[in-house]
Symmetry: D2
Subunit: 111 residues, 4 copies
């Protein structure tokens, strides 16, 4: 994870792209890539979507889009000084308290 | 990273939520969380966005939203059997070839 | 449609909000609202999603989110000087040529 | 507006695509198209974004993406039995009450 952050930072610096990597722009780029990822699944049935990685072409596209999303998420977190794993872990801990297993088992209702 | 993946998998299993965590549903949840993250920046000037972490309230919200995005991205990758760091690294390698530093320095034009 | 555009323009002017209604900001706001709309459907089964308007609470939320998306889309088009209906009609005409009915009947494959 | 709704409905029926046009799938398609629209603006400065329609190529792409977003939004509203203009107008009326002009002039703070 730290290695990816460092590689992305070097990638941007070598190209003098830090000027474009503002929080607003990176949040937009993230939304753009998530849009491409969602588009891979939009016309698939639930069953086709579950089996998407068995299709060589679609699987490669999904993997590439997930890579793109991770790249911009990592870069945005770095630019903001946020530790991505820590942010996710903190949020998971909070959600685990809000949704105790015994109370919500098998139910998707939001709280 | 592997630890987060494992914790999220256990979190879903304890709540019998694997049934909801299909690729289509997780892609939608990811889009939803990215929407919330983008919304944190939408009315900020570029300067305000760069300084967002200095604002205690806005900074905490941004960190929480980034945590949410990371949670669903990690979970989606796990359900699809994709290694998130590997996918990002592979994509970065590909992009580095497409955009050689000497050719694109300081330019944001897409190829 | 023209009436909605005019009302939204007056709404922004009365609040001196044109300064916030830049193309970048409105595109972000649009993405944020679409994220909220998608979130309404994320954990629903296909069958539950089809019947969502029969649920008074969920139906009202979906209608409100669709209204929000339409508001920002209309506002963005206005700020850019784009006629929303014309843009959609032009695109539909183009897509109708790319996907002739006799060739693509019952198939969702992209071209 | 009614004409666009009718044309889109006929377009889907002629291709036997109603089976794909479920609320979940259309919400995903909408998110995908909004992602493409946002991507058009992501690396532009605020000033470049304001002038985007003066660039023939970028302007045509933005108009086409806005058309795509409008197409899926119209189609989703139709499938759900929601009147798009009515939904937007109802929401605008509600927002106008929540943000009285005299209270919020020149401020983007959310309520």
């Amino acid at each position: 994870m730290n290695d990816l952050t460092a590689r992305l930072r070097a990638f941007a610096e070598e190209r003098d792209w830090q000027q474009f990597h503002t929080p607003k722009n990176l949040a937009m780029a993230l939304a753009g890539e998530v849009g491409e990822l969602v588009a891979e699944f939009q016309w698939l049935t639930p069953e086709q979507a579950i089996a998407v990685m068995e299709d060589v072409d679609a699987g490669a596209r999904v993997q590439a889009e997930i890579g793109d999303v991770m790249i911009y998420l990592t870069r945005l977190a770095d630019v903001l000084g946020i530790d991505l794993l820590e942010a996710a872990t903190a949020k998971l801990t909070e959600v685990a308290v809000r949704y105790p297993a015994e109370d919500v088992r098998g139910s998707a209702t939001k709280r």
